[in-house]
Symmetry: C2
Subunit: 795 residues, 2 copies
């Protein structure tokens, strides 16, 4: 297939030396804690007590590491490796150590015998480095633990980085996952003008933990059809146990050269040719078939190991106790001829390093893999330009996400040249009322365009595909390589990516502990079209559980914001876009929402994260309130203020305090979350002993959890979403979940002493109004037209 | 393409009448609350106040409904429709009403004018039926809300039902999701001998909510390559706005005939031919391309509607207020010529029903769509046959999942003929120590077989694919059509399907409220390889949050069990397999675990779900304990019993009570969960005022949430997983998360008064032992060899 000069023997030999060195280093990481150069015969005490790690995937990854080096040296293009196969860290660590990156970042692991010993000893050991490509692995932007995201990360990394090549290695295990299967179509969104290139390498080693893989057992023509159907132009490189390494090197080098020439041709044509009649490019991809655990033990006690699932983890076990096994291990390790690879001090021979690139071109040093090195502050527009005017609370209303759309439009305009901000979402930007962004940019679309299309374009920076997994993976890749973005989604369907969110939180949490990792932009979620307003969609679209999910994860990373109106949403988003190394979850509605705070008040309120809204309460003097009405979320805030307003009229003698919570973590104790409040501060807001009726956006338990341990906790009653929903009206939703204003009023009556006969009268009145509204809905199929008369005094 | 006699004009005409009727009924559901037959000119009061629903997808679904009728009538094969496209309920409800199924199940909605009016009025209205194919829709086994699972459900339904045809309609929006993209490969697991057939229909109507779809914008050869790459033999039927309906009917009928003949040929060859050299069949699939919102308004104010995203929901809005719009609507509805379709009483003309099948062959009546009709009790093996002998607590140990494997093996043997039980998992049956099942059956595998393969076979009933989404979707489809199964997974990666789990819980919850839905088998999860024993894998594999996730959902459906040892795991699984209409989450380890209870005790304990383990405590007389040590989960139980044993020696004067929890919902109040305990019962176990130190498997907050409101709650301290993990030893894990025996002992010291100077001595001793162990781990890379000397008296 390659029409190129084949590698000379000398060249192939140099590549093979590098590959052997990586294989040697990888295998030793599984086994050795001493005698790293095999300077003496292996003895049991050189062997780790617990043999952990995954050999099977290593030789394929090392082969690619070696050949990417060659590609970089011959072409000088910055290249980021995305190492998809699970548990491939030993291979990638070997590459980083051999090229010198690792010792540069970890001076305590030098490129010599002692460094080699440390590299081995730390691998998969307590207090050491994990067996998958975690943040501690240089050159990696993805955790190799939970599989399925290599391609999504790779495309995310390539967006808006035209000089970059991302080589995405996809394991054939990973390729069976849904998210990965859906990610192949990401090529319909890769702009050859402004984006870098992604070269997917589907690595077929044939087996998972205990099974063959589906793709490895397809006939080659079927697999080729699949890749062509995904829109790629596939190249095949196949080696089996008996292929001489030099042949494999020649085939792989040739295929990579072809791939690079095709990539160059596509990019050149697009960059020079203009958009005119440009067809969607068919990018190359590579199918690399090599035996699982290649170059490892071929068999054990007559049973095949290499090229079977038995090579998945540690192919030889019991080596400490069984002298035969120990000898087999030594034979295996010596088969790489370490004496030809390293000098006596453990330094690699120059021959081994012949193909290794220099400086930041090394795979372990490429800046994109440590995205904080590239991150710049965003040119955020002033909030004044898009804030809404608020004459008095509740006198006007806006659609919060629509106004946010104007803010994002301005940000997209300001980053038009820099191209370091994008908006991601599953076909819902319009539905979520963020359409203003289309004044500034298009939806990115590289497939066929029709004259009737709107806001679709080749260079758009809004990414829409009906796959939350792809949106999330793209944004992760984009952020981890030094850029910024927001993922806007229907609230319920963020649960689709809750596991991905956990893994990203884990990544950021771990990365913070790695001194050489520079902070990256936070990953920002906008959860809208939320549980309370699924008038069209109903029960399947109602799930506020994503908040609960993320709040179980590392508190140093997770932030949850529930802005109650338009201006607070703007403030919170502005803040989120300035933060680093966190995951910000912002929940806001898209339907008309009363404006409560003008911009200045919104700024103050969001800066504090929680506060008393004096104007809505009826406290007089310094006795504190009789009851606290607390709220978090737009609908709960609306119902709470309506209840406060009704109470002002119906029971003016009850001193009501209204507390609004924007930043959920403020409710926690400081020892449990960096945003947590001290008890004194908490008590000053919520009191120590008064009834607190808390209307909350999601599952009520969460508030109990967050408030747990505060003095007032036994007085807390929480109303929220109780998993009761349907295709119904907004007011029916709050009634069904007993969070409507009338229920809140009755809660206050129930918890307030000394109301006497008035309790019954007011209760009856509230119940009557609720019932009237309910009957109206059943009869008319819609909410009762109702003007809320806010009863608080003017300001 | 069809080599058949084309439809006669009369036949095509009959099909078209049926299709027009369905389109009329579908469109009317979006708009009308009166005047269902258009007996008089439309007036505003005939129109619903809120216009809700999704027209765009309807005409494609109705077309398929019509043609499946023909297929059933001509071939007599039971056919289940899986209606993938979102919000397609109007179309499917129309089909069920027209064929008479709906009126049979809902006698209050007869097949006449008044029934038609009700059908329309209830659609997407408060108290009515949702806009997606929820349980209230006859003939449906999947919620059309969260997209991505149509194919997985279809294959799950087809397994072990050789006479069934499942027609899986996949929308081109849904087709972009990861889970759906990965599901195409399910054909590598469909046994043509024992399973039914799945006929996927990829319905390209071109648009999502606001965007074109990726697959609709591929050239046909690329799409064909994709389908061939997925292993199918695609047939294409294309109609555009100008295609005369009769041509579309002829093309579609022809293609379906071809598809059925190919299916018949595949099944016949496999069923008659034996397994010998049988190659994997290339099943047919159909690509059906029709305009979005076909037959609806072609344009509006000069802007195209039909065949664009603008037809997605309600194509004509404002019809109540705008006489022009109202006239347009009437024109549209009358274009179906309702007077030719229904008589004056609203009864369909015989012509319309010509192709409708009879009885249970009707799509709305097929028994598989109401799986409880087919469900039989499982022939569960007696637990005696696989229980482990327990001489005294802690004297022996077993791997719980390994023993469970024997139980499942026996169950697989007993269901060999019936084929109504399967085990599902992502390539982890061996890794999860369930390998005994392979004595009874193979892993199902229809792709290439090699001589080195083990336990792979054409007729296996263990389904392994590295896609949790596919496993979950298959099991849902299998269970909803009347069969039984278990999904065994690494605990952390069940989070991948947490959203699917929610949707299934919502389905079951809603189905319970539909009188004609019969109970189905519960969906059973086995979460193993859990957070505490990820010695090889580390942080990315540690996430016990699935429990928290499901416990937020409908308590009438969700059950969570944490059996502490082997015999309790057997009892809990045996119970779970007998239950109906629930989702059972069982968490158990695969590593050696001390045996605490013999079979009889295990049965008693599991029946109660929670209980005092007197033998482990040191209570004397009737004063109650000084402290309660509670635990849930295998590792917490082990650490708790170790702590109790240490306390017995070190502080014999402290009266310790050990309480073990198997069924987490028992901790809740009865009003919050049907398994919840009354306060008196709870207080009798946990006391009202003594310190309770609770060691829990997952995030500690959950226990606080469940115990909230109990008198003893302020005395509760919970230890659990605090999101601190790595690749490390088992003991290091409990130390990092402060749940180890020494921490528990110190908790007791901290919470017990009157210990005087002994407090400091014992604390020092515990801390010293913990420190010694910790140092050992860092030095040796493994846990200290330690024989736990249980100090309780013999029984």
């Amino acid at each position: 297939m390659p029409e190129h000069e084949p590698l000379t023997e000398r060249e192939a030999d140099g590549l093979d030396a590098h590959w052997r060195a990586l294989n040697y280093l990888s295998a030793c990481q599984l086994y050795l804690r001493a005698n790293p150069l095999l300077s003496e015969p292996l003895r049991p005490e050189h062997i780790k007590p617990r043999l952990l790690g995954h050999w099977g995937t290593c030789p394929g990854l090392t082969l690619l590491y070696t050949h990417l080096n060659r590609l970089i040296r011959t072409r000088g293009r910055r290249t980021l490796g995305v190492w998809g196969p699970g548990h491939g860290a030993a291979a990638v660590l070997s590459g980083a150590w051999l090229e010198g990156t690792y010792s540069q970042l970890r001076p305590d692991v030098p490129r010599d015998e002692e460094g080699m010993r440390r590299l081995f000893a730390e691998f998969s050991q307590p207090g050491g480095v994990p067996s998958h490509t975690a943040p501690s692995v240089p050159g990696s932007i993805q955790e190799g633990g939970e599989l399925g995201y290599a391609l999504a990360h790779a495309f995310g990394a390539a967006f808006d980085d035209p000089g970059l090549l991302v080589c995405a290695v996809v394991g054939d295990g990973e390729a069976e996952t849904g998210p990965l299967a859906g990610s192949w179509h990401a090529n319909k969104f890769l702009d050859p003008v402004h984006d870098g290139a992604v070269l997917p390498v589907l690595h077929l080693n044939g087996y998972k933990i205990a099974n063959p893989t589906v793709l490895a057992r397809l006939p080659e023509d079927e697999l080729a059809a699949l890749m062509r159907g995904y829109g790629y132009d596939p190249l095949f490189v196949t080696a089996d146990q008996d292929t001489p390494p030099v042949e494999a090197h020649r085939a792989l080098a040739g295929a990579l050269d072809v791939a690079m020439e095709r990539i160059d041709a596509i990019q050149r044509a697009a960059r020079e040719g203009g958009d005119g009649a440009r067809a969607r490019p068919h990018w190359p991809m590579l199918v690399l078939r090599t035996p699982k655990g290649w170059t490892g033990p071929r068999e054990l006690d007559g049973v095949p190991v290499e090229d079977t699932w038995r090579a998945h983890q540690v192919p030889l076990s019991g080596v400490r106790d069984d002298p035969d096994r120990l000898r087999q291990l030594e034979q295996w390790l010596r088969s790489y001829r370490p004496e030809e690879l390293f000098d006596e001090a453990g330094r690699p021979h120059p021959r081994v390093l012949e193909w290794v690139p220099e400086g930041d071109l090394r795979l372990g040093s490429v800046p994109e893999a440590n995205g904080g090195r590239l991150l710049r502050e965003l040119p955020l527009p002033g909030l004044e330009s898009c804030a809404v005017a608020v004459e008095r609370p509740g006198a006007s209303s806006h659609e919060p996400t629509r106004e946010l759309g104007s803010f994002l439009r301005e940000l997209l305009r300001r980053t038009e040249e820099r191209r370091d901000f994008r908006l991601f979402g599953p076909d819902e930007t319009d539905s979520n009322h963020l359409s203003a962004v289309f004044d500034a940019t298009d939806r990115d679309w590289q497939a066929e365009l029709l004259p009737t299309d709107q806001h679709l374009g080749r260079h758009g920076r809004v990414l829409e595909v009906l796959s939350e997994h792809l949106c999330q993976g793209w944004l992760e890749g984009y952020v981890l390589t030094g850029r910024n973005g927001v993922f806007a989604s229907y609230e319920a369907f963020t649960n689709l990516v809750s596991s991905m969110a956990s893994q990203h939180v884990k990544w950021v949490h771990s990365a913070r502990e790695v001194p050489w990792r520079r902070p990256v932009a936070s990953l920002n979620y906008l959860l809208t079209s939320h549980a309370w307003r699924q008038d069209h969609n109903g029960f399947s679209h109602q799930d506020p559980g994503f908040i609960d999910h993320v709040l179980n994860k590392s508190p140093d990373v997770v932030r949850v914001y529930l802005p109650p109106d338009t201006n607070t949403l703007l403030c919170v988003t502005d803040h989120a876009l300035r933060t680093r190394d966190t995951v910000n979850v912002i929940v806001a509605g898209k339907h008309p929402c009363f404006d409560w705070l003008d911009l200045d008040s919104a700024r103050d309120h969001c800066a504090r994260g929680v506060g008393v809204w004096e104007w809505a309460g009826t406290e007089h003097g310094g006795n504190g309130p009789d009851v606290v009405l607390a709220c978090a979320g737009d609908i709960p805030t609306q119902e709470t203020l309506a209840a406060a307003s009704l109470l002002r009229e119906w029971l003016p003698e009850v001193a009501v305090r209204v507390v609004n919570v924007v930043d959920m973590a403020r409710l926690m104790r400081h020892r449990d979350h960096p945003h947590g409040m001290a008890d004194t501060e908490f008590d000053a807001l919520f009191t120590r002993d008064r009834p607190v009726i808390f209307a909350y956006h999601g599952y009520p338990w969460l508030v109990h959890r967050l408030v747990y341990g505060r003095t007032v906790h036994p007085q807390l009653a929480v109303r929220g979403y109780r998993e009761s929903g349907s295709t119904t009206t907004p007011f029916d939703m709050v009634v069904r979940n007993e969070m409507d204003r009338y229920h809140l009023v009755m809660d206050v009556i129930d918890r307030t002493e000394g109301l006497g006969a008035r309790a019954a009268t007011v209760r009856q009145r509230a119940a009557g109004l609720r019932e009237r509204h309910h009957r109206y809905i059943l009869e008319h199929g819609e909410d009762m037209p109702e003007v809320t008369e806010w009863r608080w005094p003017g300001r």
